[in-house]
Every structure is written in C-alpha cells, then in structure tokens.
Point group: C2
Chain length 385, copies 2
C-alpha cells in the first residue's frame, strides 16, 4: 500500500461562538477585505429579524451590501447562477451567508462560480474546484447543517432532479460565526429534524473509514450533547439547550467535514433530489434502518456510540452494547414526533430501484463501514418505506 494512503487531514474554519456573536459579522467581513458584501439568506431569516440586525453591523463598519434571498430548502442550480450574476453585477468582494444549510450551500455555490466560472455541475465530485473562492463568512441559524464548518455543498440539479454533492477544500468557509440566539426563532419541528441531522453527521463521521484521532472526540461529544440537549431544545427552546445543540452541530460538522459521511447520506440524497423533502427529516428516518445494518461492520464503534447515547454499557459485551443504538435512535425520533416511514412522506415505492442505483454511486457511500450493493440498498429503502 502506498505511504500516502495513511495520510489523514483535518481542516476547520476560524470559529467564533457565543451569545451575541452575530455582532461581529461586520468586523469579520471587514477583516477579510470587504467593501461590498453579498449577503445570502432566505425570506424566513429576514422575517425573523436577523438580516436587519446584520445590516446594522455592516453599516457600523461602513460596508456596502447587497442581499440575495431567493433561496429555498434544497437549493437549486439556477439560484446559484442568479446569486453569481448579482455578485458580479454589483462588484461584491466578500460573501456572507446567514441561514441554515440552504443559504450556506447556495453561498458556497456562488463563491465557486464567481471565481471558477462554468456551471455548478462542473464541480460535482472531489476537489475539482481549482481557483480560490472569495472570502466567505457563515452564520448558521439552525443546529443541524454543519455547512458553516464543512467542505461540502449540496445543490439540486433541477433538470435531472438529482442532488449534486460537491466536496472541495476550496469551499471551506473562512469564518464561522455561531450565535445560539439565532436558533430561538425556529419551530419545534425544525429544531427536531435539524438536530437529528446533527446526530446523523456525528454517527456517520464516527464510524467512517476516514475517522481518526482528531475527528473522533468531536463526533462522540456531539452525540453526548444531542442526547442531553435535543429534546429540551425542541420542546422548550431553553437557552442552555439551544447552546448545547449549537455546539453539537458544530462538533459534528468538524467531524464529518474531515471524516466524511456514510450510507444514510448516500440514501438521503436521491430522496432529496426527487421529492424535495427536508434533508434532516429524511436522515432521521433512515438513520435507525441503516445503523441496524451497519452495526456488524463497526461493532466496537457502535458500542461507544451506545454509551454516548446514554446506555449504561459497563456490564455489557461489545455486541450487546452496539445493539442498543437503533433502539435509542428510534426512541428519540418518537419523542420528537418525527415521521418514521417514507410512505408517510409521499415517496413512491416504484422509485426505489432508481434511487438505489443513485445511492450506490453517491460519494458518501465510499466511507461507509460497508459498501452496499444496489440490491441491498433497495432492501434498506423498502425497510424504511
């Protein structure tokens, strides 16, 4: 085996975390050389008042700004192109994203096209972006995506109805500014589903074939934080719980951006592309089904995950401890009141063979502890249906 096969990597943006961190948004943009910022966001964030607050901080630093807010869940290729045109027309120099995964991924797409040109589909795959992007500051408003600290962007190809996964060192943001206050304006359902997305990131990163000493402690700590904080965060929007979830999301993001993901994401992407379903909701639904099948391929790791999920594993065998993981995840989903079957979400059973083909070829399948065949993936979808 080549020596280089043993090289492992770890890269994260500069992270600033805490209540009130949004107040640094102008300073951060300025430090990166901004004179005219493109602010990428969505109408919900504007309604919640976070864009008005951000503008105040831009003005304080004498920065000009342009807002691009035509962003929806599962951001589209044409939105990336629209934002790129706006950036170029208005001669912006720094991009700031305020939002969940959708505005952040859109911002990454725009950043890619303004310096690399062409179509966003040209960059699907690993490290195909060759030119450095403009400076990018991300302010996440959900505790789920991790996009603010990751090298991933997922954009929907509207013609083919597929989600395109772009994985490139070049789209790592420069600064992630995390203000747990911003989570307060989200609904219970969104906190629940994005929180389950965080749990999926942490579990997939921990059992990934690229996990290592620098990603493992963050993955495990993220699982512990979800176990402690997700239910109170969703039910009561308690400040301490939201803060805990914001750190869980951050640590899960640091882990998965470097260790990459697994079969849950591989199976989730076709569903997102074909049905435009919320990513966190699909991950949550698929997680116990995939974990059940993954278990035998990474039993030691799943035993540790069981402990992080609050199972008292001390007197158990590895196998016994691991076997609690799917059950604990199901309990969490039930308590959060999230859907548990694909059929509830309007997914057609006839699409399963096509989706299985797409999932088998997804980038995220490469680091799953076991590489499933198309037939095995069909079976997984059917179990979740």
């Amino acid at each position: 085996m080549n020596q280089e096969d043993y090289l492992l990597k770890f890269e994260v943006p500069e992270i600033i975390h805490g209540m009130g961190a949004l107040s640094k948004i102008g300073l951060c943009a300025k430090r990166l050389g901004a004179e005219r910022v493109l602010l990428v966001t969505d109408p919900g964030i504007i309604d919640a008042g976070w864009v008005d607050e951000s503008i105040k901080y831009f003005e304080k630093e004498d920065l000009k700004y342009v807002i691009y807010d035509n962003v929806v869940t599962n951001p589209r290729d044409f939105q990336v192109e629209e934002g790129t045109q706006l950036y170029l027309q208005k001669q912006c120099d720094v991009i700031v994203a305020v939002g969940g995964g959708s505005p952040i991924d859109t911002a990454k797409g725009i950043a890619t096209l303004v310096s690399n040109h062409g179509n966003i589909s040209d960059y699907v795959g690993c490290n195909l972006i060759t030119q450095p992007i403009p400076p990018l500051v991300c302010v996440p408003t959900t505790a789920g995506t991790g996009a603010d600290v990751s090298q991933f962007a997922v954009i929907t190809d509207t013609r083919k109805k597929v989600k395109m996964t772009i994985l490139s060192r070049a789209i790592m943001p420069d600064i992630s500014l995390i203000d747990p206050r911003l989570l307060q304006t989200k609904s219970e359902e969104l906190i629940a589903s994005t929180g389950m997305d965080t749990l999926t990131h942490a579990i997939e990163a921990y059992v990934s074939s690229l996990s290592w000493s620098l990603t493992d402690p963050h993955a495990i700590h993220a699982i512990e934080l979800v176990t402690e904080h997700l239910i109170p965060a969703a039910k009561t929007r308690d400040t301490k719980a939201l803060e805990g979830m914001s750190i869980a999301c951050l640590e899960a993001g640091m882990a998965f951006s470097n260790a990459i993901l697994g079969a849950v994401h591989a199976l989730a992407h076709p569903l997102g592309g074909l049905y435009d379903l919320h990513h966190g909701l699909i991950n949550s639904l698929l997680l116990p089904v995939v974990v059940f099948q993954n278990m035998e391929h990474a039993q030691h790791k799943f035993a540790k995950i069981a402990r992080a999920l609050g199972v008292e594993t001390r007197s158990m065998t590895i196998q016994e401890a691991a076997s609690y993981v799917p059950e604990k995840i199901k309990e969490l989903i039930e308590e959060l009141g999230l859907p548990t079957r694909l059929s509830q979400l309007g997914v057609n059973r006839e699409d399963i063979p096509l989706m299985a083909q797409m999932a088998q070829e997804d980038l995220c399948m490469l680091t799953n502890p076991y590489c499933y065949s198309v037939e095995e993936i069909e079976k997984l979808y059917k179990e979740a249906w």
Copy 2:
C-alpha cells in the same frame, strides 16, 4: 458583563498527519504560491537527514530554496533578524520550518518581521501583529512544542535576558505537516522532556479559564495519549508510541493555542530567559508543584485529569480523585529519569524574587485558574528549588 465576554474562539491550521507526510512538503509550499522557499531549521535536523529529504521534494516541484539553520534552543532575537534579512535578500515567498519549537518559533518571528517590519520586541503581547505574514508551513520534529498549530511564538530578548511571548492570530501557520517518522531521530531525553511539555500544555489548557467545548476533548485526549505512549516512546522509540505522542502533541497544541496556558508556563519563561534551560525540562519540573497549588481552584477538572492519567476514580470523591494528579505526574517524571529540582539545573536561589516578578506579569498567568501574587510565586519557585 459585556455580551462579547462570552465569545469563544477556535482556530487551527490545515493539518496533514501520517507516516510519510513529509513527502507533501513541496506540494504544500507550492499550493501556497511558493517559487522560492525559506527553509528554517537547525543543524541537528540537517544531520538527521530530514533537510536533504525535504530538498528532494522541493526540487520535485521545481521550487527554489534557501536554508536558514542558525537556530538554537530558546531562539534569539538576532536570529530572527538574520533570517529576516536572508528572506528579503533572496526574495523568498513562502516560509517552511522543519524542526522543534525553536525553528518553528524562529520562522514565525521571521514571518512577522518581513511583513510588519521593526523589531520582534514590538510584537510582544496579544494580537499586535497587524499585517498578514507570508504563507507558513510547519513540519514538527518533536512531539512537544505544538508551535506548528499555535498562535504563540516565544523569542529570547538577548539584551534583557527575557523570553518574549508573542500571541497573535496572524502567526498561526497555514499548514502543519506531521510525520511521526521524524521523531525517530531524537534522543530518549528529548522525547521525555518534550513529551512532558505536551502534558503541561494539555493540563494547562484544560484548566484554563478560556477552555471550552472545542478545546476540552483535545486536551483530555492528549493526556490519555501521553499516559499510554510517553514511556514506550522514550524508552523504545516504538513506531506506534511515537505516532501516539505525535497526536498527543498536536491535540495539546490545538487546545492550548485556543484556551491559552497557565502558571507553569508563566513560571517557566523567566527560567528559560535567564538560564537558557530546555523549555520542556523546566515545565516538567514545575508541573507537579504548580498543579498541587492549582488543584483547589479547579477540582472538578483535576478529577477528570486524574482519570485521563489512568487513576481508577469511579469510587472516589472529586477531591480525592483530583489529589492523585501531582502524584501521577511525579511518577511519570521519575520513570522518565528527568530532573526534579531547580537546584540540579544550576538555578540560583537569589534570582527567585526577580523571576517571581516576571512570572506574575507573564501573559500565561492571565488564564490560570487562580492568579498568584508575587509572594505566592516565590513560594512555588522555592518548593521547586
């Protein structure tokens, strides 16, 4: 209290780790825009063959290079100036440091002066470096310093005989390339003393008043790795143990660069400045003395440190568990055969009042769990004498 007091930060370079990572040194420099590299190193590293190997990788990428190797333990202000002249004369564009803490800190000093001008003493303190430095790649050859992932540089003011601590976001390296093979050419004593430096970094970062969720898991994991790997690494230079220590050093560096340090470092700096003693050796000697006094100010944290040091704490009270820490550290020092008294190292008892004054004003004292008075610091030095 101001909202901003709650903001916490985390920043690390891009990290590439593994056996054979040195082979990427040319590619990394090139990726950062290099045409002519200034390679900062020392004669020991040249003798060990690592500079010849590095040159091979520069040549493979068609890079020109200039070597600055007049670096000693506790690097001096005039060496930083000499290296700066060389960088400017030869019109270098990227700095690569291959070595322990001394070449890396010298490289950071050179990087500071080539873009910020003036004297290195102008930048003593927090974030006083205003201009970005040239791209900087670090390849550590000891598992102790953490300088390759930190925002610190410590340079000796030869006129005043004091160690100057420079702490600035601007001197964070761009890439840390960590190849555990490079540890194989170090002596048992150096592995032992640099390993104790790593343990000091991890413990001080963990109990620091700026520690938080992103630094804690790395600090604790570093302590666990030192507990498992330091003795075999020093005694047998076993590959797995050296690899474990290289990760311990890295994680301790990630923790202390962001959570900062404490009283051990505050007390060590005057000794380094006045007596030119090896930094790891002094930290090792001071660690159990300072920890004993720090204990009551961070008992919960020291109880967790005890567990990471291998103490079976399950049936103990917090206080009882914490009390094992100084003892475990002393056991480690004894087994490694390192000195335990300042008098053994030629330190004059009469210098204690002067050193106590300097230590009280050291930047590292600010984040110690308790702020010692000059009189209390004198007592600590006397206990260690």
